[in-house]
């Protein structure tokens, strides 16, 4: 049995954990900046979100596999270069990128505000607190699910050691 099999199931779950933590960071930043009307780029703070896509973690191994064809075995004692994860190219881990939501800012009527325009409207960030809270709960539940998966892998690994 390959030890790497169980270990990499933990790696996949760890990628899930890291994704949910990043989501939580982004959400915290959105909530903290829900009233920020000025940023370095001018204009109000813009809602940030994670754009997630599923990628295969074995890009490195694929490259290794390509170079492998150039390695010739001219002697039986030569070691074979054989990355054993390659068969699992259908397994994917999430990869995230922080993006800004460019939707229109929320307009609030507050003529006394220093950032108000000539009509008395202040441009507030395009953040809906309720949406952020819901996303936050979703992220923390997804985080828990990944923790459970890691614990299951750990248990299985321990069982295997007890054979």
């Amino acid at each position: 049995m390959k030890v790497s099999t169980l270990i990499s199931s933990m790696k996949i779950s760890a990628a899930g954990l890291s994704l949910q933590r990043r989501r939580l960071n982004v959400i915290s930043s959105n909530i903290a900046n829900a009233e920020t009307t000025k940023t370095e780029n001018g204009g109000p703070y813009k809602k940030q979100y994670l754009s997630v896509k599923a990628v295969n973690p074995n890009k490195f191994n694929e490259i290794l596999e390509k170079t492998k064809t150039e390695i010739k075995i001219t002697n039986n004692n030569h070691l074979k270069m054989d990355p054993e994860f390659l068969e699992d190219t259908k397994l994917k881990i999430p990869e995230a990128e922080v993006k800004e939501d460019n939707s229109e800012p929320r307009l609030e009527y507050d003529p006394s505000h220093p950032d108000a325009d000539e009509n008395g409207y202040v441009k507030k960030p395009n953040i809906n607190l309720v949406t952020e809270m819901v996303d936050m709960i979703s992220a923390s539940r997804a985080y828990e699910a990944n923790v459970v998966a890691i614990n299951a892998s750990k248990g299985m690994f321990r069982d295997a050691l007890e054979i």
Partner: protein
């Protein structure tokens, strides 16, 4: 290769362990991607290969020579656990949210897989104990 363990169930159980640890990977991948838009959930095909073997068992050709081709059913050692994309690709599942991962289903599968793995490891260690008492030739 002639091996002390070939006639026991240990090689089969090893195969089973391999399949379960691959399935663990697939489930971990599904859970990690539970919030990834457009992700397609993956499964491990293993048991279905075995059941098709069971059904075609009576077509099994006898091999009296190493060079004979195998006819009919594969033996369990030839079954290969592999990762496949789930075939339940209903459009509705994508409409409802991100992807076709059902987190409840995955958590249940996770628990089930863990227990099955534990069962297989227990069976293996029991098989080893059996061999050990056969070697000693006496009860414990």
């Amino acid at each position: 290769m002639i091996n002390l363990f070939n006639k026991t169930r240990i090689p089969n159980l090893e195969k089973v362990l391999e399949a379960y640890s691959l399935r663990q990977k697939a489930i971990a991948s599904n859970i990690a991607n539970a919030t990834t838009p457009g992700y397609k959930k993956v499964e491990v095909s293993f048991e279905d290969q075995l059941s098709s073997e069971m059904n075609s068992l009576r077509l099994k050709g006898t091999q009296t020579n190493e060079k004979h081709l195998s006819i009919g059913a594969k033996s369990i050692s030839e079954a290969k656990p592999e990762i496949v994309e789930s075939k339940t690709n209903k459009e509705d599942e994508y409409k409802s949210g991100y992807n076709n991962v059902d987190i409840d289903e995955e958590m249940a599968l996770l628990a089930q897989n863990q227990l099955q793995y534990r069962m297989a490891t227990r069976l293996i260690s029991r098989a080893f104990k059996g061999i050990q008492s056969a070697i000693r030739g006496q009860a414990q």
